[in-house]
Amino acid sequence: MSRDTKFVHLAWQRDERALANVRYPMASDVTGDVARMFGVLDEEAGLTLRGTFIISPEGTLLNAEVNFFNLGRNIDELLRKVRANKHLAAHPSEGVPAQWKKSGDVTLKPGPKLVGRVAEAMKRK
């Protein structure tokens, strides 16, 4: 999403071959109100920063990542975060460590037994 109109979204998606496989809605935040709500509107430039936000089905903001205009995002990491959020929604007592990639990988159960023993817990299969 950006502050462009839906008409410009259409023209861009039709023109740019890199967007040929886009399957998600391209939202038009013309007023910048939604960008402002998430703190990614550069008021001087009138443009939106490269912000990524994951919202749960309950409407809770669970992740926020913001890059400056000149740095793109890692989509593998975004997909990892979405998978991790879904896993955590189903397993609320667990924590997902940095190395976690998919369900079945080692997760952590915060509690007295984990204190000072993260290295051992990470070796568990």
């Binding site: 999403m1 998606q13 402002r36 998430f38 912000g51 990524t52 089905p57 809770t60």
Partner: protein
């Protein structure tokens, strides 16, 4: 919404919003509504970039 002074923090509830959109699958215009996405039990990823015709 222009009265909002402070941006959202992780862990907070996101206020409902509705925006015009272009749907490349249907090649049609429509609306995107957080309220409807929540009602459909969907996870939502908002992906901002500076402007169309920039790299994403």
């Amino acid at each position: 919404m222009s009265e909002v002074c402070c941006s959202l923090q992780v862990g907070e509830k996101v206020p409902d919003f509705e925006l015009d959109m272009f749907d490349p699958v249907k090649c049609d215009f429509g609306k995107i509504s957080l309220k409807k996405l929540k009602a459909a039990k969907k996870w939502t990823v908002l992906f901002f970039y500076p402007a169309d015709f920039t790299f994403v």
